[in-house]
């Protein structure tokens, strides 16, 4: 080994010297860190014993704790502690805490729930959470919807009806409004005439001559629009055909169109292509009957429930 100059201060070296002058520092980990590390190993050993963990023979270490919950027959059952059992019990405990609320809600008709300020406080907070998790992706956070895609739930225009029963049915079963495309059944001129008539029904600007022609078509057997939208154009809630006489639109973005040709184009595109996109999923099975009831009242309160 060659003679090397000692590094006067600073960290120790390992003592090795290569190539005459290459030395390696020796920086041991701090003691507190090392002991901390040993403690984590000890912790793991204790954890293995206390919680379900290590496979042994045919089974595994089940831990020292047990947990008791109620099974579906209503009997108490005890099992070694695990997260599923803990969840089951927590849900049961929460159900007990919320039971007074849900019991009142499930026994009361919605008409009375809305009159009870205390219950409505519960509905508003539980309803908002449910709505944000499940409905807001489509109907938007406040329920304002998206024209051309998802109906606005805050107005008093209801495609399928705004009574408690109708709203509940919508949420439970889902909805799938269907209007056939008319691109092949009708000529372009006929469709334009119909578009002007549709605009005239809600007092939008339109061409009166074309609208008169469209009116005849609307009530004729050729187009048979009246069959679904009704002779008065107010729509039928059982099949979800839109009310064409109000100024609230879902599929044709008439309010967003700047001038008459653009408004006609919007309506024309709906008549040409029909509507087969309005798919509201069914929530029965995904949400409990109580949750659906809370949502029904919540949605009813968002806008002009009827």
């Amino acid at each position: 080994m060659a003679e090397v100059q000692e590094i006067p201060k600073g960290p120790q070296t390992t003592g090795h010297v290569w190539d005459g002058d290459l030395q390696e520092y020796n920086n041991p980990l701090p003691q507190w860190w090392i002991y901390g590390f040993y403690v984590t190993i000890l912790f793991a050993l204790v954890y293995w014993v206390v919680y379900p963990s290590w496979p042994i023979g045919q089974g595994f270490l089940t831990g020292v704790n047990t947990i008791t919950y109620t099974n579906s027959q209503g009997q108490e059952e005890t099992w070694h502690w695990n997260t599923r059992a803990k969840l089951l019990r927590e849900m049961q405990e929460a159900a007990v805490q919320q039971r007074p609320w849900y019991e009142r809600i499930s026994q009361m008709p919605p008409e009375q729930i809305v009159k009870d300020p205390e219950l409505m406080g519960f509905v508003r907070s539980a309803g908002r959470a449910l709505f944000t998790d499940n409905c807001a992706g489509c109907h938007q956070a406040g329920g304002s919807g998206k024209i051309g895609h998802y109906p606005n739930l805050t107005d008093d225009d209801w495609i399928y009806g705004g009574t408690f029963d109708q709203i509940r049915e919508t949420i439970m079963q889902g909805r799938n409004g269907y209007m056939p495309p008319f691109a092949e059944a009708l000529s372009r001129a006929q469709i334009d005439a119909l578009a002007h008539y549709v605009l005239s029904m809600s007092g939008e600007p339109h061409d009166p001559a074309q609208a008169t022609e469209g009116k005849a078509l609307f009530h004729s057997h050729t187009a048979a629009c009246y069959y679904c939208h009704g002779a008065d154009g107010k729509g039928r809630q059982d099949i979800g055909s839109a009310n064409l006489t109000d100024r609230i639109w879902l599929w044709a973005d008439v309010p967003g169109a700047p001038d008459l040709p653009a408004k006609v184009a919007q309506v024309r595109q709906v008549i040409l292509g029909g509507v087969n996109r309005g798919n509201m999923p069914s929530w029965e099975g995904r949400l409990s009957p109580e949750q659906i009831k809370v949502l029904t009242v919540y949605v009813h309160q968002l806008g002009g429930g009827q």
Binding site: P28, P55, W79, L87, N279, P281
Partner: protein, 248 residues
Amino acid sequence: MMFKFKHEALETNTGLLLVATMMAISIGGLVEIAPLFLIEDTTEKVEGVRPYTPLEQMGRDIYIREGCYTCHSQMVRPFRDEQLRYGHYSLAVESKYDHPFQWGSKRTGPDLARLGGKYSNEWHVQHLIAPRSVVPESVMPNYPWLMENRLDYADIGQRMRALRAVGVPYSINEEEYARNVKDFGPEMAAQLHIPNARESLLAQVRAGNYDGDPSFVSEMDALVAYLQVLGTMVDFSKIKPETLVKFR
């Protein structure tokens, strides 16, 4: 500690270093692999779980290709808040045919394990092309090419063969086909039959029209078909919750 152990002893002794390294690695291996031998006891005995159809499997491969798992997990943990938000907690058996599974631990976006049926196909298409058009505050990237790319399903047979090799019950002969008829019913068995893979893929696209554009088979068709089946195979209304407790 009682004894004085210096790392120098390890670092200057190749043989000892080798033995110690192997010990450390085999402990890690044991912890991760040993529980697999008990898989019979941890996989719940529950009906309904089946392999993915060819179209769903293609969609799954696109899901992995696009790295959706970097932001989305597929594992509802047995916690109350998760169960309230996403639905029933995930079962081990539900990822029985997943290679690789998509449990994940990174949630920039929500968990997708119970996504199937929550939204319409139309919503998925729109949300994947432009997430912010439906969820204004979303940070999810746009995936417009899914709608434009033709789905390349020429190798679907090979993909299914590879999965079969690791234990997914896709069938290649009459005997396996008959077994699938017994296990999954005749309609599903036909879809899981490798020689029919392309025809059943096309048939599912025609029947489902997932992307709303019937003119050609897009990658969107496959991805949406996959998203719509997530978490829908097990009917939890038929299962008593306490039976699942016994598998942990």
